[in-house]
């Protein structure tokens, strides 16, 4: 079990972007959708295509992200499904409680019991679900390529240049430094305990017992890391860490393409806010064509 950061250099548009641009743009899109609470498909859908374009431009191989997509699909279905089941008051999805033609009913039984209820699927719920999926994927899809296409050595610098302090930025760098070390320690510990007859896949007993049986894996790794820490502190103090403003060796420069994308991000965010708060556009509604299409 070796933690390999999946980054590798590629010569793509996305990778030529300044890392700050990518992070800021991602934040713009997330905020544009969440702060003014945009649910209008006429805004969500174009943003989805913007995100999708950037995702495709990153050119990551399908085999790299297959698992991630599986996970995200499960997550999205789970959320959307659960939301439908438990629909109640509060939050954006309460709009789905508005009277709306019922399409069909799904029986829901709590697993292991015969206790349950019928969940009505209405037109507005269905449309909401579709919107919700698109909206969530629009946000997720911007972050997925980052580990594959952004040099881990650049995060600290990027955060520093976005205004984080020297210390916070360096924490980021240092975390990357330790990640593979602790993953290796965990492997070694696992091997060492297996050699003492410990079997991970045969954890027995109740839940508490099984969790307690994880101690032989967790304790050695955590305790060794606390000891390591003391020496790392010494090593950093001895090289004058934190005594004055740091020079960060890596330099970052915005190119015209970065300004363009940043401008786009800002424009999207501002437009969404203005539309929603200024003109009342962007809230949830079920378009007529959809109602006609499904109620046919």
């Amino acid at each position: 079990m070796l933690v390999t950061w999946k980054y590798r250099p590629r010569n793509t548009f996305v990778q030529r972007l300044d890392p700050r641009t990518r992070l800021i743009f991602m934040v713009c899109i997330i905020f544009a959708l969440t702060i003014p609470e945009i649910w209008d498909y006429r805004i969500v859908l174009p943003l989805f295509f913007v995100s999708l374009t950037l995702y495709l431009l990153a050119r990551i191989e399908w085999k790299d992200v297959r698992r991630a997509w599986l996970y995200i699909s499960i997550l999205v279905f789970f959320i959307v499904g659960l939301n439908g089941l438990l629909s109640g008051r509060g939050g954006p999805s309460s709009v789905t409680n508005l009277p709306s033609p019922v399409l069909f009913e799904v029986p829901f039984v709590i697993p292991g019991t015969d206790w349950g209820w019928m969940v009505p699927v209405t037109v507005s719920k269905l449309w909401f679900a579709l919107n919700q999926m698109t909206r969530m994927i629009t946000m997720a899809i911007l972050a997925i390529p980052i580990p594959y296409t952004m040099d881990p050595n650049i995060y600290g610098t990027a955060f520093r240049r976005m205004g984080a302090s020297d210390k916070v930025s360096f924490t980021m760098d240092l975390a990357f430094r330790f990640l593979p070390t602790f993953a290796r320690d965990l492997t070694i510990t696992m091997d060492a305990q297996r050699a003492r007859g410990y079997e991970m896949d045969k954890l027995k007993g109740g839940i508490a017992g099984r969790i307690r049986r994880l101690a032989p894996l967790i304790i050695p790794v955590v305790m060794q890391s606390t000891v390591t820490g003391e020496e790392v502190i010494d090593a950093m103090d001895l090289r004058a860490f934190g005594t004055s403003q740091r020079t960060w060796l890596k330099e970052l420069h915005y190119a015209p393409r970065d300004y363009m994308l940043l401008g786009l991000g800002a424009a999207i965010f501002i437009t969404c806010c203005v539309l929603k708060w200024g003109f009342g556009i962007g809230g949830f509604f079920v378009p007529d064509f959809f109602t006609q299409f499904v109620v046919r």
């Binding site: 933690v3 950061w5 999946k6 997330i30 969440t34 698992r67 991630a68 996970y71 995200i72 959320i79 659960l82 939301n83 438990l86 629909s87 109640g88 008051r89 509060g90 939050g91 954006p92 999805s93 309460s94 909401f128 919107n131 909206r135 969530m136 946000m139 997720a140 972050a143 997925i144 580990p147 210390k167 360096f170 924490t171 980021m172 760098d173 240092l174 975390a175 330790f178 990640l179 602790f182 993953a183 965990l186 991970m200 896949d201 839940i207 508490a208 099984r210 969790i211 307690r212 101690a215 967790i218 790794v221 955590v222 305790m223 890391s225 606390t226 003391e230 502190i233 950093m236 934190g242």
Partner: protein
Amino acid sequence: MNESKNTWEFGTRQVVYGAIGAALYGVFSWATNIFPLPAAGNVTFRPAVAVLIFFGVAYGPWVGLLAGFIGNTLGDALSGWGFYWNWSLGNGLMGMVPGLVMAAISNFKERADIMKAVGWGTLGIAVGMLFASLTEMFVGGIDFNTALVGYFVPAFVGNLVVVAILLPVLMIAFAAVAARRGR
């Protein structure tokens, strides 16, 4: 020297343990994605949470915050899942709140001190998971019931069980290590 424990200090020590906590939290979270772990119904257990709370308790709120925020981000990124800022922030809070008790803990193997840590850990889990679940209403567009029943309760219960079991174990082990180093 951390003899006079200063809760809000932020120096080399906090940077190093923040990073170590983050890396550990990331690795353990990621490992749980790979290996089967006990689960009951909707509740999955993340032993990593006990490690996070431990770092908060042992090294203070800044360390807890950084370890939770960066660690969760790393764990998700390692698994290739993207970035869920509200969960990362919620994890940060989950580590930060128990950090507030750091100065009040003098003996890691004393029963009373362990109870104190578990108590603050519980509060941290409540605050952190509540934050993440409620923000999910705006991010994921779920309603309040779903946020509470679908997200908060399982996350809270799962994390609480893990912390109640593993945090004392970690603290007792740490007492022995600390006695040997004695910085």
